[in-house]
């Protein structure tokens, strides 16, 4: 509490300074204090409205979808005189609903994330960590490959025409068809465990990185390139001092798409090769036994994982952008 008061006291003169400082300084100051809080407050209302609307649609959807099934249950159990309220409550608390209600998923998440030990195979933390490992390894391979391909394509003109079609073609094959073959082929070379799944994740994530980085490395305008020519700069110098830094915004955008794609790849790989666990294996097991609540809980965990990874890259983006003077 004392800290908070001290911070407020401290912020006073800084906020006041906003009104007298020139634009440039004001930007730096307001980034630290003032502006952030104001912007956050402004965001709260629309976000709340959207979330509330989503929940309403979800509950209505759950009622509509589950009612026929629940009526059958009541009929089979010989229950006839139930009120609409009884039906609604039963709809939203079925064991294997067609569409689970949000509170059921929250309860499942609470059980499998918080109340189960992370070492247990029933814990979503256990499976989430497996997926995370595969995603990160696959993303590392994929983005390294993507950046390397982009550098090649930008520097060697013939590769644009000879290599790019293959890069594009690679993505036209449905990953679900390709994943088992990758597992089988790698198994031939005694590559098992996490690596085959990481390779599948890499397969999905290198493409957006390649495309984004080609665009980024080509983003300097003609004058900026001419300037390098007037200095008689070498290709390496032009790359390091112009193309690479100019590609920074594209780099982070590519990384965000790439990491999300890697997670999708990892989950697909786990569905293919479910014996090692992972969120994909949870999805498969859930659908096998009709455990819709479990499927949705695993889905939301995967989404949360993806959002966290994208968010971390966004954070790195903001820090780097500020240091590079892109942020205003």
């Amino acid at each position: 509490m004392r800290h908070f008061a001290a911070a407020l006291y401290d912020a006073g003169p800084r906020l006041k300074a906003n009104f007298v400082r020139p634009r440039a300084l004001r930007a730096t100051f307001s980034r630290e204090a003032g502006e952030g809080i104001g912007a956050r407050m402004k965001n709260v209302l629309p976000v709340t409205i959207v979330v509330a609307a989503l929940l309403v649609v979800w509950y209505v959807g759950a009622l509509v979808m589950n009612t026929p099934l629940q009526r059958d249950f009541f009929a089979n159990a010989g229950v006839t005189n139930y009120s609409a309220e009884d039906l609604a409550i039963a709809d939203l608390n079925m064991e294997r609903p067609k569409l689970p209600a949000p509170h059921q998923i929250v309860a499942e998440l609470n059980k499998t994330v918080l109340e189960t030990a992370p070492t247990s195979k029933r814990s979503l933390v256990y499976h989430g960590l497996i997926t995370l490992q595969e995603t990160l390894l696959g993303f590392a391979i994929g983005s390294a490959l993507g950046i390397a391909l982009a550098i090649l394509i930008v520097n060697v003109k013939v590769l644009e025409k000879s290599l790019m079609p293959w890069v594009v073609a690679s993505q036209t094959i449905p990953i679900i068809a390709l994943a088992p073959m990758i597992v089988v082929i790698l198994n031939q070379f005694d590559i098992t465990g996490i690596l085959p799944k990481a390779v599948i994740a890499a397969y999905l994530s290198f493409f957006p990185v390649t495309v984004g980085m080609v665009k980024g490395l080509r983003s300097p305008d003609p004058l900026q390139l001419d300037l390098m020519r007037t200095y008689c700069a070498t290709r390496a110098q032009t790359f390091l001092k112009l193309r690479a830094p100019a590609s920074a915004p594209f780099f982070f955008a590519s990384m965000k798409i790439g990491v999300a794609a890697a997670l999708v790849g990892a989950v697909v790989a786990e569905v293919t090769k479910s014996e090692d666990g992972g969120l994909g294996a949870r999805l498969l097991a859930g659908s096998y036994y009709g455990q819709t609540v479990q499927i949705w809980a695993a889905l939301l965990t995967a989404a949360a994982l993806s959002a966290t990874l994208v968010g971390l890259i966004g954070l790195a983006d903001r820090i780097v952008s500020r240091r590079m003077g892109f942020a205003r």
Binding site: L223, L227, M228, R229, T230, Y231, P245, F326
Partner: protein, 272 residues
Amino acid sequence: MLSPLATDGKTDVGARVIDVADLSLSFVTADGPVQALSGIDLAVERGEFISFIGPSGCGKTTLLRAIADLEAPTSGAIRVNGMSPHEARASRAYGYVFQAPALYPWRSVARNIALPLEIMGYPKADRDARVAKGLELVNLTGFGKKFPWQLSGGMQQRASIARALSFDPDLLLMDEPFGALDEIVRDKLNEQLLRLWDVTKKTVLFVTHSIPEAVFLSTRIVVMSPRPGRIHDVIACDFPRNRTLDIRETPEFLEVANRVRHGLREGHSYED
């Protein structure tokens, strides 16, 4: 190094910075070749301030780019300090200022000015000293740590001039550097550029659209006409080196400006 010029039989070889002989340049476009420059002859002495003026499409920017080895001539010869344009570029003979400042947005002003020095391998201490000198030369001392977007357009263009001069080339090539700035800022920068030219004793080639700017700055004005781009007239402009903006009110100034205007009118048909 001067032998190629000497064989041309030209006199005053030591002071000649640029020699353009019968230069033609055409671009290949989708609609066929476009003749951008035709039969250009031009000699520039050390320390001159030459302006190129003419309507859009007269090839003045192309001529400057050919001298800078950014475009390849179709025929004819260019010598810069007695070298081919390519050798001159390799020996870092000129600094080039573009229409836009073309500062790298991720570099502070000081690091933008240091860019050519980094590429040319100057040691750190030397770089810092030259950057400080450059900032002072264009009145930007104290702005070194700012990013380009924190500066006004005029300040950005001054920073780009400091960048072009940072490695102390003899020759400054400027392609409409103040074209995007308003009249008041432009006047001020014209005066500063003239001071800078006087102090540094550089040879300046300056492309412009503005008659008063050309007359105010130059020792000679090259009037060009379009389709194909060629030199219509070269007008001497003998005002003292330490001239001020007031000179623009004098009858001598207006007379030269009128000659330039007439030259432009003769060379340019308004039918197309």
